[in-house]
Symmetry: C2
Subunit: 374 residues, 2 copies
């Protein structure tokens, strides 16, 4: 098997499973219980939250643990009514934003945010701007610090004019942590979404970082866990696994960057007849190919026969049979979108695998071209 | 260790962990991806949902997987405005109900619902009635079928008078599945909350059963998973584990009932100087003791020194330092509430353990009485 869809899902690392194991049936106590072993579990849970928080330069108290990135994105928008969001955002941002009077900010052909469009669309009512650090489909890294600088200007201007509406910056960093050193202060974000399942951690665990400014409204109410913002008995093994995963991601950051840059070079050097959809400002484990005139979905199935697993776009969009709104937003034609492939590299990949993958992709594409045009 | 707090948390069964293991790092694919191994994972996920649904006499399509019972309870109330709820409900029902114009239904001294009070409080506007099948603090089993019969009467009457407001019955069955054969048809519920973490399954996984009548509103929006009602990449290992746990609970139902009835008899035969808070209509693994004049919280700490772990009430209420609203509702005085202990039996317990626990509890209580009153 050559798995090239790490943006859709990552296998749990052995070290993550190992870290979680004691909490399954040994340290299984309810962290809210009064006796010592439960208090030890509560302390371990808090320590894990601190590890996750520190990895992004934050404190445990600023973190709300959720059941994944989608819930975290929903929570970020809770109680907020005027939002701007990048048109290439994931559905969990787009759909929520639309419900909350959301206006889309354009992207350039490069996939980067159109900063002029952003500036033009900020009004005195705008409360939140949501821009993913790394796009899940095309891996484009957005200039969050520049966006944050624009927001600071607006805030200052509002202050001068006595306008009390706050303006927050939210970013979904789900895809970023394997390759970028993420710091909430450096990025200038008020809200940041994290996702364990994309960094070799457990599924169904995520977090929302929220600065004091953000003043979140509770999304799920009940027993009062997570400072009352997200009630429900804590998923202790999940959070322990998340902490281990983020720790490992941090540890391997430099190695990963080098590794994926090299793997990507190998892949592209061996592939033929493609166009690169994104050429710059892209995370090194993303490769977006376009074979114009060929059906990408058919390629996915043909490659499957060779146990090579790739995607055309985001998994959840694919399952709904929708055309990629991301590729459309950056200006690709329908036939270019139809001919696109997303390859996302990860820990399971080797140089040999990518040479082999390139060889098979070339072969399959050539066969398809002959079938269609000869 | 003698663990007597199974209502707060249960250890994951080895068989559950075994069932989940392949989905950690082998069958880790995103169920929404297009290639075969991902489709196999999606099929396994659906099969697990079917197993959970069948255990309560429902279909997989009627089930929304959530990150736990609290989220399921929140989802059940989503978009509904006039509700009645039993005053002894868990905070995840009470707090949500209060936000939605909720009116509390009284309980009798027995802990059972006051059916006359229920009837008196149903108005033409009432949309939802929420009564947990088994109370999490005192294990009282509510007569849901009787409540459902009352609701059917009201529906019929509304139909006759041309009132279009629907009336739904919701029940939190989190604590029930180890000992009761739960069937949505027999109970007559439209909405039913399930919780994996209370039946030796994984933490952070639950479900809401919803009949067609219920017409749920989406709680978390995004990629459109769970029929659009609860978006987010599926927690595949969690749901696989939940299915195994509910299967095991079903399998051991009769054995469990016998086992816990016997264990409870052993415990009560060996304990001295207590009063039973609940004498009838109680799940067999619940034992609620009252030592009037003694501080239950102090007993919890004293028993901890003997590695015997018990509770005074629900874990989440305990951690907030609140007095039990449940014991208050059934009419206990402040000093009776202060002197209460909740012992909940489970798979980790043996007859010898309960004899030993009774011996130590007697000793500790006697010592406390001497300290206070001699």
């Amino acid at each position: 098997m050559i798995y090239l869809d790490h943006a859709a899902a990552t296998p749990m690392s052995d070290k993550v499973i190992e870290a979680m194991r004691p909490y399954f049936s040994h340290d299984f106590f309810n962290p809210s219980a009064a006796y010592l072993p439960a208090k030890k579990v509560a302390a371990d849970y808090e320590a894990a939250k601190a590890t996750i928080a520190h990895a992004i330069g934050a404190k445990a108290a600023d973190l709300v643990i959720t059941a994944g990135a989608t819930e975290a994105n929903n929570l970020a928008f809770n109680g907020i009514s005027r939002v701007l969001y990048l048109e290439t955002e994931h559905d969990s941002v787009r759909e929520v934003a639309k419900q909350r009077g959301g206006v889309a900010i354009k992207v350039l052909r490069s996939g980067l945010i159109d900063l002029e469009d952003l500036k033009a669309k900020i009004t005195d009512e705008t409360e939140l701007i949501s821009v993913a650090l790394v796009n899940g489909e095309i891996g484009v890294i957005q200039p969050l610090a520049e966006i944050a600088a624009i927001i600071r200007e607006v805030r200052l201007d509002r202050l001068r004019r006595g306008i009390k509406t706050r303006l927050l910056l939210h970013s979904d960093a789900s895809q970023a942590l394997n390759l970028l050193d993420v710091s909430v202060a450096r990025l200038g974000v008020d809200l940041l979404t994290l996702n364990a399942a994309k960094i070799y951690g457990p599924k169904g665990v995520g977090a929302l970082y929220a600065s004091h400014e953000a003043k979140l409204s509770p999304a799920i109410i009940g027993g009062g866990q997570e400072n009352g913002l997200r009630s429900g008995t804590e998923n202790v093994p999940g959070v322990i696994g998340f902490a281990k995963a983020i720790e490992l991601a941090k540890e391997h950051l430099n190695g990963n960057r080098k590794k994926y840059a090299e793997l990507k070079r190998t892949l592209l050097a061996n592939l033929q007849g493609y166009e690169l959809i994104v050429k710059k400002h892209q995370l090194d484990n993303f490769v977006n190919l376009c074979y114009n005139g060929i059906d990408g979905e058919r390629l996915v199935f043909l490659l499957e026969d060779h146990e090579i697993y790739v995607a055309t776009g985001a998994a959840c969009a694919a399952s709904k049979g929708e055309k990629s709104h991301v590729l459309k937003a950056i200006g690709l034609s329908d036939s270019e979108i139809a001919g696109s492939l997303r390859l996302t590299l990860g820990e399971t990949n080797t140089k040999e695998q990518l040479e082999e993958a390139a060889r098979v992709i070339n072969e399959v594409v050539a066969k398809e071209q002959r079938r269609l045009y000869d």
